[in-house]
């Protein structure tokens, strides 16, 4: 079966067996990617299955809004990501995390800023070379995990920005926010991330053990 815009629209119109075929084929051909992405963000395969399957149901509840000119798989992927962000947001509401406790007076943020000021992309300490250090990797992973635990939605969107090159319009569509609210979200991503990466910035800036 070809997963084309035309067959998607046809399935949406006809329903029944055609939708069932689409559900089976999308799960077989793209499910692994969707489940892996959701599991990486949710840290649970079971939760990932729930999110991806809820998204698949939403796809067919909203299928009439799909535009023929689009790629149905890209559209489905966007709904999966949107549902995943909803789930992450829900987790934050149910179990809110605090900012790093020792940053109550903003000292950690100031340290991070000072370290960022000292970062270099020239000379011997290139990012690629310094990042090869095992210690740097360990510290970075810990920092990112803590950031993702406190701000799962921001961390996940930031990861997609880096890995998939999302632009403002794509983030707007994912978050279903206005352009202004999206710009604020982007600023918040940067602001919220900084204190969590203070230890890592300090490590890779000149004077840090990895630089």
């Amino acid at each position: 079966m070809q997963l084309s815009a035309r067959s998607f629209t046809q399935a949406c119109r006809d329903g029944g067996r055609q939708i069932e075929t689409w559900l089976r084929v999308v799960d077989r051909e793209h499910g692994a990617r969707f489940y892996r992405e959701a599991a990486a963000a949710l840290r649970s395969w079971q939760a990932a299955e729930d999110v991806v399957q809820d998204a698949m149901v939403k796809v067919w509840q909203r299928c009439a809004t799909f535009r023929d000119a689009g790629d149905p798989i890209a559209w489905i992927h966007q709904i999966v990501r949107h549902t995943l962000l909803d789930a992450l947001r829900q987790r934050t509401v149910q179990a809110p995390r605090e900012e790093p406790l020792h940053d109550g007076d903003g000292q950690l943020t100031q340290q991070a800023e000072a370290a960022v000021r000292g970062l270099s992309v020239h000379g011997v300490a290139t990012p690629e070379r310094a990042l090869a250090e095992h210690q740097v990797e360990t510290v970075f992973r810990r920092c990112f995990e803590e950031f993702a635990a406190a701000h799962p939605e921001h961390a996940t969107v930031l990861r997609w920005v880096v890995e998939d090159g999302l632009d403002n319009a794509a983030i707007e569509a994912l978050l279903e926010r206005s352009p202004g609210a999206t710009r604020e979200f982007i600023s918040q991503c940067r602001k919220k991330a900084r204190p969590f990466f203070a230890a890592w910035y300090a490590l890779v800036s000149p004077g840090g053990s990895a630089a």
């Binding site: 799960d27 067919w60 990112f144």
Partner: protein, 205 residues
């Protein structure tokens, strides 16, 4: 470090791998290091794997049936071409005719209630509302729909404002009634799209 909104935009562009020639040196360094690290140390999925494909798909189809996206297995048997079909009963065409007549009456009746600003409405699946101030009219209807419990989302396409509404299938009677109260025709499918058409202001004599 985040004083300037443009600076944050440059940071985002650099994080996404796009050029930002106007970004200052500090922002470039910050983004270069963070991006390099995020690409080098991608977060992996937790240990384990997705459930077995057959079990997983079985659960997916069950969810789809429960949500009304797929008809239940027993109902679906009636549509299976391999099974002998029951003769079409007399009431089905009659019901279809009634629905069509109701739809025509609703579409062409004068605007009331939610459409009291001179709007007009035409048939599903895309229902169009004419309004002098499309943005205001959309906002008002969006609020009304959300207040009535609908999953309504605004959109703008080719310069035209609209609202997408996701609906359960079959549509519960109270939701159908709520749509009618707002001057909309309840659709048969799982979604309803409304587009707002701007009408010119009447010229003054």
């Amino acid at each position: 470090m985040t004083q300037d909104p443009d600076d944050d935009q440059h940071w985002l562009d650099l994080m996404a791998g796009r050029a930002a020639p106007e970004a200052d040196a500090r922002t470039r360094r910050e983004a270069a290091w963070l991006r390099a690290a995020m690409l080098s140390y991608r977060a992996a999925a937790p240990p384990g794997a997705p459930a077995d494909a057959d079990e997983r798909v079985g659960r997916l189809l069950t969810k789809a049936r429960e949500a009304g996206v797929l008809v239940s297995a027993t109902n679906d048997a009636a549509n299976d071409p391999a099974l002998p079909r029951r003769p079409i009963t007399w009431w089905r065409p009659a019901l279809a005719a009634c629905v069509a007549i109701c739809g025509i009456v609703l579409v062409f009746q004068p605007a009331k209630d939610g459409l009291d600003d001179g709007s007009t409405l035409r048939g599903a699946p895309v229902q169009r509302i004419q309004a002098q101030d499309a943005a205001q009219r959309r906002q008002q209807l969006l609020q009304d729909l959300r207040a009535a419990g609908f999953d309504a989302k605004p959109f703008e396409r080719l310069g035209r404002l609209g609202i997408d509404i996701s609906l359960p299938v079959p549509l519960p009677a109270e939701q159908g009634a709520a749509l009618k109260r707002l001057g909309l025709v309840p659709p048969a499918g799982p979604s309803l799209q409304i587009e707002f058409v701007v009408t010119p202001e009447p010229t003054r004599p």
